[in-house]
């Protein structure tokens, strides 16, 4: 293994049919096998060739983590094109500057990114390129060497414009080899990828997963509930994250678990720990066994608690400039205060002043076109990390803090802000803190900046000072006036920006740009009523205090439905309703909504057999007597890509029987039928179990909670069931076809499954409108039309029209 391309090619050979990358953006899961992943990358390479990009040219990559991201990245590697990954939160002005500095020729982006700076660059939406996975694409291969550049990473700089860290294949592959035996990965492992892939930390973990043929799952968004859901649904085994995340999740766990449990657990073997915290494990899917923590220092206490759960915490230390891993805690991952031992192949020494110096193949090549800064980064061919640290006798590295933030006291002693913050953050009221050396009256003062609702800061400081050494005493303090400190992507405090604010009153850019975030309901209430969100609280009365009139009320329920996917009855908002009550209504709505769901028994293999038999011995013979069926267009069902959505017109209760009979058995056995919730699950609920047994019906609400119907449809399609969906929404009362429901087009576009239009004739004569029983015998004809495919970006309305037309012309 010399280049990252070797990994890609090895994967394609060894694991071709194994799942590699997965994401569920909305209703359907997208899963790429290793060979599809490879195909996508070759498709990107070909695209680059068509765009006349040469080896060494630069391409910007601006998208959230996804299969497409890795596909585009490896596609660039195949062509020797250099990737410049960007962060989603990068500001337009910044991107513009990077494009200029790297002379980028192309932008790969996510379709969701709509507001682009004026880049004057051609761009391609990578998430619209799904078709590339279909086959391997041929392109002219450029020889790729170890020393070739993989990417330029612009790390969030501390002063001035960030530097572009240039990493080569050799850098990354050397680091990957070094962690190979420390992070053991099985083919059966499932990784969750949530840190930005534009950071080399997530990259190296994902590459490690790929090299073992494991599966990488991406979360569609980064809210904690979505992450937990993704962990749970995919039974994730391993993930990388930052300490801040571990801290936040642990706080939630601690609210439910008594602290004594953690104490007891720390003495138990792993298997018992898992048993003790079974509920926690179950919420995460029950398989999580390793978390790699990096990017910032992990609080020892937090780390120990995670370990008490029976989950291994691997800590590492590194920089973007070192691709990134320099040290890791080796198994059994016990020494959590240390960042571990130096990885093989790399040398680390501590300079006289305590700075950590690194040498080895993992050390970056240069800062992009910046000789001066590149030179400054080294001292006699050793990389100056800017971090201060020391080794213990057994060779474990400990980090003291950043060199440039070290506070040199008047007495000539070195104080590390980290040590002070460690004590400050132990205080209950302190959410976060930042210690700096503040110049004051010609001296440097040890100054603590506190974040949080703190009643008596003096007392807090007094308590903390008692725990600190005499030379570390806090001499001054202030309360941070904003909601959050300026943070790097890995959630480290940007100390210099805090200091700049204290000394010059410069408000950090991040804080200026960050709009205070309110809970979604408050945001909605504020837009609808035009009341400042700061003035809305749980106790606010919606009608009285916010002046909600009847027009606003409609807007409010419409907005709640659109944004939160929950249907609220207008009548539920009375003169007395408080925001808190509405919150409760919304929270309880999913339970009300999901009153009807797909039963687990209906997809059971045994049920499938019974269903098949019942159809054979009961339904089809009966059908033969009542109405012989003529089938047309069966050629359209040959080589059917599974699964598909059948959309027949609806003229009689006999339709479902007729379509079922007309389908080839393979499609028939794997079919689920969308049925109106209000009819089958309410009005005729006594027959529902039988209908579900025979037809594999599932609830599809006709109004309001359509989203729920889409969720179920997506789940069934993901399980390879084709769907039968009547796009008219009900049996038509007259001969005239009803206009199709908008949901038909939405379904076709959202589900990304082919639609088969179906025409049915003759059923109406046998079982007329309003009737359940056959009036006479007669011939029925079922005609299948050619498959309709829709693109992700097609409008649902157009799709609806196209389906309507396709049924009509049959």
């Amino acid at each position: 293994m010399k280049t990252l391309i070797d990994i890609l090619e090895k994967c394609k050979r060894q694991f071709s049919r194994a799942p590699a990358l997965k994401i569920k953006p909305r209703y359907r899961s997208i899963v790429w096998t290793y060979s599809q992943f490879y195909n996508f990358a070759t498709g990107i390479a070909k695209l680059l060739e068509e765009k006349k990009l040469k080896k060494g040219d630069r391409v910007l990559l601006w998208a959230p983590n996804s299969p497409y991201w890795l596909g585009a990245f490896f596609g660039c590697l195949l062509k020797g094109v250099i990737t410049v990954p960007l962060y989603l939160q990068n500001r337009p002005q910044f991107v513009l500057e990077i494009a200029r500095r790297t002379q980028a020729k192309l932008l790969f982006k996510s379709a969701a990114l709509k507001k682009l700076p004026k880049l004057n660059l051609p761009f391609i939406n990578i998430d619209y390129l799904d078709e590339l996975i279909g086959k391997e694409h041929s392109f002219k291969k450029n020889p790729i060497e170890e020393k070739d550049i993989v990417q330029i990473l612009y790390t969030s700089g501390t002063t001035g414009f960030p530097k572009g860290v240039v990493l080569t294949h050799e850098n990354i592959v050397s680091d990957l080899k070094a962690i190979f035996n420390i992070i053991k990965v099985e083919k059966s492992d499932r990784f969750l990828s949530i840190l930005p892939l534009s950071h080399v930390f997530e990259q190296i973990v994902d590459f490690r997963a790929l090299a073992a043929g494991a599966e990488i799952v991406f979360a569609p968004a980064l809210g904690s509930s979505i992450i937990t859901k993704t962990l749970f649904e995919n039974k994730i085994t391993k993930m990388a994250t930052v300490p801040e995340f571990l801290k936040l999740v642990m706080q939630k766990i601690e609210k439910k678990a008594p602290s004594s449990l953690f104490k007891i657990a720390s003495f138990l073997p792993k298997s018992l720990q898992k048993l003790l915290f079974k509920k926690v494990h179950d919420r995460f899917g029950g398989k999580l066994n390793l978390i790699v923590s990096g990017g910032a220092a992990l609080d020892v206490e937090v780390g120990k608690k995670w370990q008490a759960l029976g989950i291994n915490i691997l800590q590492g230390y590194g920089l973007t400039e070192t691709s990134p891993v320099v040290t890791v805690t080796p198994p059994p991952f016990k020494k959590i205060a240390s960042v571990g031992k130096v990885v093989s192949g790399t040398k680390v020494k501590i300079a006289e002043d305590g700075e950590i110096l690194v040498k080895g193949l993992i050390v970056f090549k240069e800062y992009w076109r910046d000789l001066k800064k590149t030179k400054e980064a080294f001292e006699d061919s050793w990389l100056k990390t800017g971090d201060m640290g020391y080794f213990d006798k057994k060779g474990f590295l400990y980090i003291r803090g950043r060199k440039k933030f070290m506070i040199l006291t008047a007495a000539g002693q070195n104080v590390y802000p980290e040590d002070i913050e460690f004590e400050l953050n132990k205080e209950r009221e302190v959410e976060n803190s930042c210690a700096v050396g503040l110049p004051r009256g010609g001296k440097i003062e040890i100054h603590a900046v506190l974040l949080g609702k703190i009643k008596d800061p003096e007392k807090v400081i007094d308590r903390v000072n008692k725990r600190l050494a005499s030379f570390q005493q806090i001499q001054g303090w202030s309360i941070w006036p904003f909601d959050e400190f300026p943070l790097t992507v890995t959630k480290k405090i940007k100390r210099n920006e805090v200091l700049e604010y204290l000394t010059q009153g410069i408000v950090p850019e991040d804080i200026k740009a960050a709009k205070k975030e309110f809970p979604p309901l408050i945001e909605i209430l504020s837009t609808v009523t035009e009341v400042n969100p700061n003035l809305i609280s749980g106790e606010t009365k919606i009608v009285k205090d916010l002046g909600l009139d009847s027009l606003m009320r409609i807007e409010l329920v419409a907005q709640i439905e659109e944004e939160l996917g929950v249907e609220i009855d207008e009548a539920e908002i009375t003169y007395q309703t408080k925001v808190r009550d509405l919150e409760k209504l919304i929270k309880e709505a999913p339970r009300r909504m999901a009153k009807y769901r797909i039963s687990s028994w209906q997809l059971n293999p045994l049920t499938k057999v019974i269903r098949k038999v019942l159809r054979r011995i009961l339904i089809f013979p009966l059908l033969k007597i009542i109405s012989p069926i003529e089938i047309e267009g069966r050629e359209n069902l040959q080589d059917l890509p599974t699964p598909v959505i059948f959309m027949p017109e609806h003229t009689s209760h006999l339709d479902s029987f007729a379509v079922l009979r007309a389908l080839p058995s393979r499609s028939r056995d794997n079919l689920a039928m969308a049925t109106a919730t209000d009819v089958l699950y309410e009005q005729f609920k006594w027959i529902q179990p039988l209908a579900t047994l025979l037809f594999n019906t599932y609830p599809f609400p006709r109004r309001g909670q359509i989203k729920l119907g889409l969720v179920y449809t997506g789940e069934l399609l993901d399980k390879n069931y084709s769907i039968l969906f009547y796009p008219e929404g009900r049996i038509r009362p007259t001969e005239k076809m009803l206009p199709l429901k908008r949901g038909a087009g939405m379904m076709a576009v959202e589900m990304q499954a082919a639609v088969v239009p179906v025409k049915i004739q003759g059923t109406r004569e046998i079982i007329p409108y309003g009737s359940f029983f056959p009036r006479r015998r007669g011939r029925v004809s079922v005609k299948f039309g050619p498959l309709l495919y829709f693109k992700k970006w097609d409008s649902p309305d157009k799709a609806t029209k196209a389906i309507e037309k396709a049924i009509k012309v049959l």
Binding site: R553, E555, D569, T574, R742
Partner: protein, 115 residues
């Protein structure tokens, strides 16, 4: 004699914005099919105000839009139809008036109930 009166005033601009933002919601939950045959915003705003006036007069509570249907007779005079509200079977007589001026629509209704 039990007379109930109700009135409502509505700014066209606000109605238009709300309608354009959530047309489906209005088409589904506020207006009846026949009412939508004339899709002009000024017309619909008038109906909306009238419905609100009736809701106020009879104290029907929120969200009862589709229980009240408004049609115009030849002269343009609006008439009321009630779709299945039990508590208003005792309506003896009513009169409804809708008026537009500039950016505003106003509706007034008087309803006479049997004792």
């Amino acid at each position: 004699m039990d007379i109930k009166i109700g009135s409502d005033i509505l700014q066209l601009k606000k109605f238009r914005t709300a309608f354009k933002k959530h047309p489906q919601k209005f088409e589904r939950d506020v207006f009846c099919k026949l009412e939508l045959e004339n899709p002009e915003i000024t017309h619909l705003a008038g109906l909306f105000a009238a419905k609100e006036a009736v809701i106020k007069a009879l104290d029907l509570g929120a969200g009862k839009w589709k229980f009240i249907e408004i049609q115009n007779i030849k002269s343009g005079k609006p008439i009321l139809k009630f779709n299945g509200i039990p508590q208003i079977e005792n309506i003896k007589s009513y009169d409804l008036s809708i008026s537009h001026h500039g950016d505003y629509v106003i509706a007034v209704v008087a309803i006479l109930l049997e004792e």
